[in-house]
Amino acid sequence: MPWLTLIGAVPLVGALAVWLPFTPAAKARVVALATSVVALVLTLAMALQFDVGTAGEYQFAETYRWIPDLGVSYALGVDGIALTMVALSAVLVPVCVLAGWNELEPEQSKTFFALMLVLETFMIGVFAARDVFLFYVFFEAMLVPVYFLIGFFGGPNRRYAAVKFFLYSLFGGLVMLVAVIALYVQGPGGPDGFLTDKLTGLDFSGTATERLIFLGFFLAFAIKAPMWPVHTWLPDAAAEAPAGVAVLLVGVLDKVGTFGMLTLCLPLFPEASKWAVPVVIVLAVVSVIYGALLAIGQSDLKRLIAYTSISHFGFIVLGVFAMTSYGQSGSALYMVNHGFSTAALFLVAGMLIARRGSARIEDYGGLQRSTPLLAGVFLVAGMSSLALPGLSSFVSEFLVLVGTFTRYPAAAIVATVGIILAALYILLTYQRMFTGPKRDYAAGWRDLDAREAFVVAPLIAVIIALGFFPKPVLDVLNPAVERTMQQVGVTDPEPTVAGVTPAAEGTTP
């Protein structure tokens, strides 16, 4: 059964159904929710059949010739890392559809939900692609729905934000296009020469060639992730986008950058990746600190969350390029955890902004007494974001730091400062927005209603569950990480620190 094609096609069909003229505008959201739930159910059904024992291999593989003249195949398949990312997308889309339930006029909602579903198709495609060209196609095609989502439904500065987002990403993507071409030229060629399998372990014609091609890929992923100093589009885009779109943008789309580093850059260009490690580590640490510092200074709630994400992406990149199995497992897990905790933060922010009509932090205060549930959800999501033990991000952040420390102690120590700063930006914000005496503006506010509870409950549940018991996910991720490590040709440095973290006990060989 072509699971992945099916999961990708369902939202596309749904998008068409939403968009078609004879679908009543009022029903658009229902169709969208139903479709995305079907896709989620299919994804879960697929995940249940996933063979954890061989999670390092691509499973549910489908390979067809697509454009043999250019060496392009339609090749899908998921290993452990890709599976978790597909699952992350499939979970977050229905949540975001539900979050956007009442946000729009019925007339507009058709476009909104159709674009969301198209975006889901592209996201699943990009994580499942096993052909570099196909990956690139999804990577670039994703820009179009996001561009329109921000441009149509964003805040007052949406035009600027949408264009900035598009141009940054397109620039990175086009540089990557040259690298993609050069990679194919270096590869074996032929009608299926773009399959990642065929391009892994290439004998490059020169060190410089490999490094240049690596840089082409890395630049695109660094912009996408985004890393300092090519991060400036993210705060604008995330702040202007509606909450649901911001969730998908930061929670899933940006992961394509770190996902690409882990599953494309490292296996395809092992030597160049090792060559780039010092610089990338430094950039990652800078991102961690810089993102956190700027987050503290923000007056806009959504911009704040965007900057915290830049800090978190720094951690993820740090773990990927630490070249240890702990670091990479931690990063892969971090991608999932960050998706959920940031989603919760953005969604609560969206709910608050919908009530208050302003995203400025100083316009809030004393909400703990008026809307205790909202405050609680924000606190849990925030605590996860600052890596409180018992919540999901703790496990991944700890793994990343441990993995980094064994090889680059200095970088790990500096990055640890990021955790302290995280406590500052989350707790200060909580203090400013939620504590204090009850204020007038919130007099008639309702607390979390049923729909909103449905939106955040699954996220909170996942955050807590993965905080206490991350083993199932780590079991799926670890074999894939091991395989990447083999492909890069690195081993964990001695002495290993196996067994230090109870969370990963027995899962990391």
Partner: protein, 548 residues
């Protein structure tokens, strides 16, 4: 039929060989597409003279469409036939290959087919009469703008139909241009397709002074460039003793001929290149493009942008791959410079344009630069990529310009005004006419090279050919220029969707069936070539070898 008489130098050869003047041997089947198109053009002239005025327009459109369809069918037949006879007007004995004025090889057939298909779409846009009863052309081109004669002609309801035979002559010349096997035939083809174009540029119904200015500019600059071409031909003849492409190649690489140092050769190549680069609109020979694209009647602009590019790049391909490969190291550096300059100039200057037609003109300049990178790859995949790009770009261009004709100023009462080409008038179009804005966005995304559109595959193909040929610098400049270009394409999207409508001064006309068909075909092809390009890529790859 000029090209079928064998060219003078070959006659000389034959005379010394045989001592008699043989009748030129013509493979009528191989040149039948050309013959049909030219015949349709001549029939069109007759129609203009003899058919009564009321039915003239319909007959003209019918003749043109019939001629183009028959031509396309014959191109298909010749291509399928397999025993592709590479010579027409051959004088018989082959001297190191093929002697003749016309060479119908696979690239030529592909280019001819592309030109015919895109011309067909252009004819449909020119036959538009629903938006404006008189169509996009002036009723009487000879009347001075603003004169009583002009208003008289308008009130009499005269309908311009001479444009169709002109178009057919132009199409015939374009088909001959990339199939010409010697420089003289090529020059004649150049003139045959250019002269009607000069005229057609001046036929706009509205803003006639602008249109006539465009026509005059195009004519003057075109005449210069033709002179360059002819001078180059003369110098190359002086170098090689022949105007036949193959003989020139022989003279360049052969031991007997004057070895590559001859200044005649270099000057000749340079002048020839100026003539050809002018026609493709490459910088620094691009100055005419924005003015002409803006002034010409929009359906003619679409036709020029799509078909002239195909013909001129086809000829450039043939000259550089058949005649001048031996001197490659002399001229490629210059062409590199031209390609880079063209991409940068086109993309950068387009940013500051405020008129949609001028913007598309600069965009076409940038695209000419991208195509040049494919030519510079100097490989079969380079040829194949250029062929694909030309077809893909042609479809999107014809479609985009056809849509431009529909956005109008609000006129008095029910009548529509002229085309609203100022970008500010396009603001908020997405709300007023989602379909038009959506289709235009599709074409813009194709121009920008976003995946799943034909533009992406085309760009990928030329850049990959360039990288494989060692031109990764070109590819890098190309993608950077693409990023810049994306900015101004996006600006139009932003205007159409994310801006408030500019007021009731802009209306979107409801097109008639021909334009609907043309735009639908163009949009469909743009998507199809983006998602399933294999069929066409197979064709272009099969058609990527020039016969000497």
């Amino acid at each position: 039929m000029t090209p079928l008489v064998s060219a003078a130098p070959s006659l000389a050869d034959v005379l010394t060989a045989a001592g008699t003047i043989p009748a030129p041997k013509v493979d009528y089947f191989a040149v039948s597409p050309l013959l049909v198109v030219f015949a349709a053009a001549i029939v069109g002239v007759m129609v203009e003279a003899f058919v009564p005025r009321e039915s003239r327009f319909r007959v003209q459109v019918g003749v043109a469409v019939l001629g183009l369809v028959a031509g396309a069918a014959l191109v298909g037949a010749v291509a399928v036939d397999g025993r592709v006879l590479q010579t027409a007007g051959s004088a018989g004995a082959a001297v190191g290959g093929i002697v003749g004025a016309v060479v119908v090889d696979k690239p030529a057939l592909f280019l001819q087919g592309s030109i015919l298909v895109l011309s067909l779409l252009s004819v449909l846009t020119m036959a538009e009469r629903t938006v404006e009863s008189g169509g996009p052309f002036t009723p009487q081109a000879s009347a001075v703008p603003g004169s009583p004669a002009e208003s008289l002609a308008r009130r009499a309801g005269l309908v311009q139909s001479e444009v169709f035979p002109l178009l057919m002559f132009s199409v015939g010349g374009m088909m001959l241009f990339p199939a010409a096997n010697d420089l003289l035939t090529m020059f004649i083809a150049l003139e045959v397709f250019s002269l009607p174009l000069y005229l057609m540029c001046g036929l706009a119904r509205r803003r006639r002074l602008l249109s006539q200015e465009a026509s005059l500019k195009y004519f003057l600059l075109g005449a210069f460039s033709s002179a360059f071409f002819l001078y180059g031909t003369a110098l190359l003849y002086g170098f090689a003793g022949s105007v036949r492409l193959f003989d020139i190649a022989q003279a360049i690489s052969g031991d007997s001929g004057p070895v590559g140092k001859d200044p005649l050769l270099l000057l000749g190549i340079a002048l020839l290149a100026v003539g050809l680069l002018f026609k493709v609109g490459a910088a620094p020979f691009h100055i005419w493009t924005p003015d002409v694209y803006q002034g010409a009647p929009t359906p003619v602009t679409g036709f020029m942008a799509a078909c002239t590019k195909i013909a001129a790049f086809g000829a450039l391909l043939r000259v550089s791959y058949v005649a001048l490969p031996g001197a490659r190291w002399d001229w490629t550096p210059a062409l590199w410079g031209v390609a880079i300059l063209t991409m940068v100039v086109g993309a950068v200057i387009a940013i500051v344009q405020t008129d949609v037609k001028r913007m598309l003109a600069y965009s076409s300049i940038a695209h000419a630069g991208f195509i040049l990178t494919g030519i510079l790859a100097y490989s079969r995949s380079g040829v194949s990529s250029v062929l694909f790009y030309l077809l893909a770009y042609g479809f999107s261009t014809v479609g985009a310009f056809a849509l431009v004709t529909l956005v109008r100023d609000a006129g008095d009462g029910d009548a529509v005004g002229g085309e609203a080409t100022h970008l500010s008038q396009w603001a908020g179009l997405g709300r007023r006419s989602p379909l038009l804005a959506g289709l235009f966005t599709l074409f813009l995304l194709a121009f920008a090279g976003i995946p799943l559109t034909s533009g992406f595959i085309g760009k990928y193909a030329v850049f990959s050919a360039a990288v494989a040929g060692g031109g990764w610098v070109l590819a890098l400049v190309g993608v950077l220029a693409s990023a810049v270009a994306a900015f101004f394409y996006l600006r139009v999207v932003v205007l159409m969707y994310f801006s408030e409508p500019s007021g009731p001064t802009t209306v979107v006309a409801t097109p008639g069936v021909p334009v609907v068909v043309a735009v639908s075909v163009a949009a469909f092809a743009t998507l199809l070539l983006g998602v399933f390009p294999t069929v066409v890529l197979d064709l272009t790859q099969g058609a990527s070898a020039f016969l000497p």
